[in-house]
């Protein structure tokens, strides 16, 4: 038995959603792209705890979703669509990967990426995702 790689599951699942493809094509990343093309969606697992250690089965992953525009409105549309899809469709059985039992959302923050001049519009959302094999 192994715990689910939530980053991998989520990125693959989002790339397969037509609403996300319409907005960013396949630009859903878990690592920083070398030459970024915008808009894009970045997914990072920043923390995680198994709900029980024995058996190591049900796992909670804290995921940060970074939605980059284009313009600010496009970043907002991307993060809204992503959260809506997670809330409506993500919970359930994913063949050969595992089961998502719950998605709880945390803060939604507008924090432009000032690694760029001018700063790139970015909405950040937090989500707690519970999974088991």
């Amino acid at each position: 038995m192994r715990v689910v790689d939530t980053e991998r599951l989520l990125s693959g699942w989002l790339r397969a959603q037509p609403e996300i493809v319409a907005l960013v094509e396949d630009r859903v990343y878990t690592e920083n792209p070398n030459r970024a093309v915008f808009p894009l969606l970045k997914i990072n697992q920043i923390a995680g705890n198994p709900v029980f250690s024995r058996p190591l089965y049900l796992d909670e992953s804290l995921i940060q979703l970074d939605a980059y525009g284009g313009p600010k409105v496009q970043a907002r549309q991307l993060i809204d669509t992503t959260r809506e899809l997670l809330a409506e469709r993500f919970v359930g059985h994913h063949v050969d990967i595992g089961v998502v039992t719950a998605v709880n959302f945390g803060d939604l923050t507008y924090l432009p990426d000032d690694g760029y001049a001018p700063p790139k519009p970015r909405w950040i959302a937090l989500a707690s995702i519970y999974t088991h094999p």
């Binding site: 920083n32 070398n34 920043i46 940060q64 945390g106 924090l111 690694g115």
Partner: protein, 122 residues
């Protein structure tokens, strides 16, 4: 026979604010949080592009401070670019030292939400 324990949060808060022993305990915990945040920050070789270049150590660590705040203590960074370490950017990975340490100390990141649901946040 089952016994129901009701926690008087107001009295508990009053105790933490006024009792010297509780304040000393909180100060010690705050210092431990500060040390843990420094350890959770970037270290070794850079994970941002270009990969594996050496990091100049000490800047983020030096920027961390602890001060009394609303009867407790606040751990914060004076680095104006600390948000790039915490939230990442398109060129930096998301190190999230503060949020990781909050989770490690069994804290809650969304404090307002936890407080409103009555689960306790501070």
């Amino acid at each position: 026979m089952a016994t129901k324990v009701v926690i008087n949060r107001k009295a508990l808060q009053e105790f933490f604010v006024t009792d010297p022993g509780a304040q000393a305990g909180l100060a010690k915990t705050a210092k431990a949080v500060e040390v843990a945040v420094a350890e959770a920050g970037p270290f070794g070789s850079s994970l941002s592009w270009p990969w594996r270049r050496p990091i100049k150590h000490g800047w983020f660590k030096k920027s961390l401070h602890t001060r009394p705040f609303r009867g407790g203590f606040r751990v914060y960074s004076r680095d104006p670019f600390a948000h790039l370490i915490e939230f990442g950017s398109i060129k930096n990975p998301t190190y999230a030292p503060f949020r990781r340490v909050i989770r490690a100390f069994n804290g809650r990141i969304n404090a307002k939400k936890a407080a409103s649901s009555g689960e306790g946040a501070e």
